[in-house]
Symmetry: none
Subunit: 418 residues, 2 copies
Amino acid sequence: MNGPGAAIVAVGDELLDGELADRNSVWLAEHLTALGRRVEQVRLVADDEELIARVLGELCREHPLVITTGGLGPTLDDVTRHAASRASARELVVDPAVLTALEAAHRERGLPMPASNERQALFPRGAQVLPNPVGTAPGFAVGVGSAWLFALPGPPLEMRAVFEGAVAPRLASLPGGGAQRHRRRLHLFGVSESEFADRAGEWMRRDARPRMGVLAHAGILTVKVEAPAGDDGERLVEARLSDLRSRFGSRVFGADGADLATVVGEALIAAARPVAVAESCTGGLVARKLVAVPGISAVFREGFVTYADEAKTARLGVAPDLLREHGAVSAPVAEAMARGAAERAGARLAVATTGIAGPGGGSPAKPVGLVWFAVARDGAVRAQRRTFPPRGRRVVQEWAALTALDLLRSALEQGRDA
Amino acid sequence: MNGPGAAIVAVGDELLDGELADRNSVWLAEHLTALGRRVEQVRLVADDEELIARVLGELCREHPLVITTGGLGPTLDDVTRHAASRASARELVVDPAVLTALEAAHRERGLPMPASNERQALFPRGAQVLPNPVGTAPGFAVGVGSAWLFALPGPPLEMRAVFEGAVAPRLASLPGGGAQRHRRRLHLFGVSESEFADRAGEWMRRDARPRMGVLAHAGILTVKVEAPAGDDGERLVEARLSDLRSRFGSRVFGADGADLATVVGEALIAAARPVAVAESCTGGLVARKLVAVPGISAVFREGFVTYADEAKTARLGVAPDLLREHGAVSAPVAEAMARGAAERAGARLAVATTGIAGPGGGSPAKPVGLVWFAVARDGAVRAQRRTFPPRGRRVVQEWAALTALDLLRSALEQGRDA
């Protein structure tokens, strides 16, 4: 235990009937832990005012810090504010500033404000309003006995924004914080969990310092390294990060909050390298991932989603003979797609995907999960194949799209060295 | 409430420090709910014997059924069995059959059994062993006061196997099962949560029968309607579904497990209607959603991700004058994109998106979140604008892509009526 602990309460019927997984608590736990607040329990409770009030009362007696997520919406089944009012024995009062802002937000969008939204301007008397920069429901902080209760909205984007903007800064000035943890993450592409475990060996022991953990998803391996904060912990963690970088070299694509699409997109922007994408089995997912990166318009020329063979010919100039002879899922077709995309979009770099995402369309020679990729760079083109585990169409598509991005990344790195 | 409820306890330090999301509880909640066991609370607790024992004692007084996951491994921090022993006041005793099986499993793999594994053969006296067909740690069931406590292993595959093989069959014969629930879902597009609340009014009360709940995400509103199973409950739920369908008309796009892309994709396939997509601000996301639908290759011709103005001209024939005069984010350009996509791809139906996803690029006249859409259908084309809340680039893109799909859906419905 490092200092008095916190409790999290996730509110919502949908969390208790198997409809929705509670993603907020794990995010909050991670961020609270980093801030030196150990989470001692998490409770998921139904939209039941009396139950929530009872749980909040209990937890506020046991923990100096209690955070709720959810139940702040405009509908009658959103009762967290009422429960907090009961637990804190403070009546609900309208916050005129919040009410005005709610009305203004609706006016801006040309909509009258439904009467039900007025609930969202109610707060326990004396509560501090926690601004919500990305939604209509602000959170609030209120004292309950000797504890602080923070109520946050349920939609994850809003919850995170309110926590980062209004909770984290307040926690720094509240008593009871323990030692912070120094925690870093490294992201690798194309290294499996067991390959990593083999090469990391003793580093993975539970009692090792620094402590490490891994998480694998669709070709991406995220390695967490952490130790209690302080000079020694920081040094241990950073040294391990250096070790990992030198052991895994170019397989490491980023650290901490980085994601592959953003890393690749920003590298393209930094290199001022115009890029195009030609997709068959990924159906627009590679383009979509790049276009999600702010500022990409400076380099992203065009995406060709040539799903039908005729589109591959009409749009990318893939010869019908090639398609007949080798089939759409083949090295020559992938190469012709990448070359065609680069030429027609006037881009010096292009990537192409063509494969069998399933569930149908597989054969012994070309099973579901087989994908051919090609990268065209400054006129040269090279194809590569991968076979992904056939864990469903979406998984194959996701894994293939990330692989295409990783191939762009490698091409950029080679281009830089050349 | 339909009969006495259940509680779930997920055990493990890693669930409380942000390392691992608890996926077991949502799975269990769904399966328990389907079996007529309403889950009333879920608790995540650390690997702390005293704390777990206290929580189990509390919950077994409040609920006739308590299920734990995790903490049954061989290491010293796996303490669920010890906590269950304390809560049930039954000492731990070795089960000779389990011990023999553990030793045999190690022999088979050519390994001596570490002494620590003997822990896994310990059970509260009188407990029923729940076989684990896919791992070394069996679960167990034990009476605690008038409640039944089921302890399951933490790894999700093992937890599911033990539940399905040994818990679900026992639940059928245990008293206290409520009536199974009759539950339906209806999905609406383009109705906000507060608009729904206003029009649904008293239906949303927590004590209403049938009971309703809503979940909103990027323009999609999911309405859940449920009641205890049986003739009366079924009738109530189905009647409410009819009411909702007539009240919200064509805003309802599907029921139960349906998702918008699948509904639209399958409608396109059923209508044998060739379709094309032209995307600027959504950058491939509309195509990606359609291409995720199995069998879509029968109708999906092609996607044009014309992010740069030159691509809009070269690929879709958008006149440079139009772009200069109105800007890329405008009704005339959206219309020209949709028309160009339909013509060039040889499709009778096409949808186009062009907008400002942000974070940059907004202006007072054309703010971040503004998106123009156009649908071309059998030669006719019509543009529409929407302004989405500026909650980040990805949210605007997701919302816009779903809106484009919804416009395809409307066009198909109108086509059917015509």
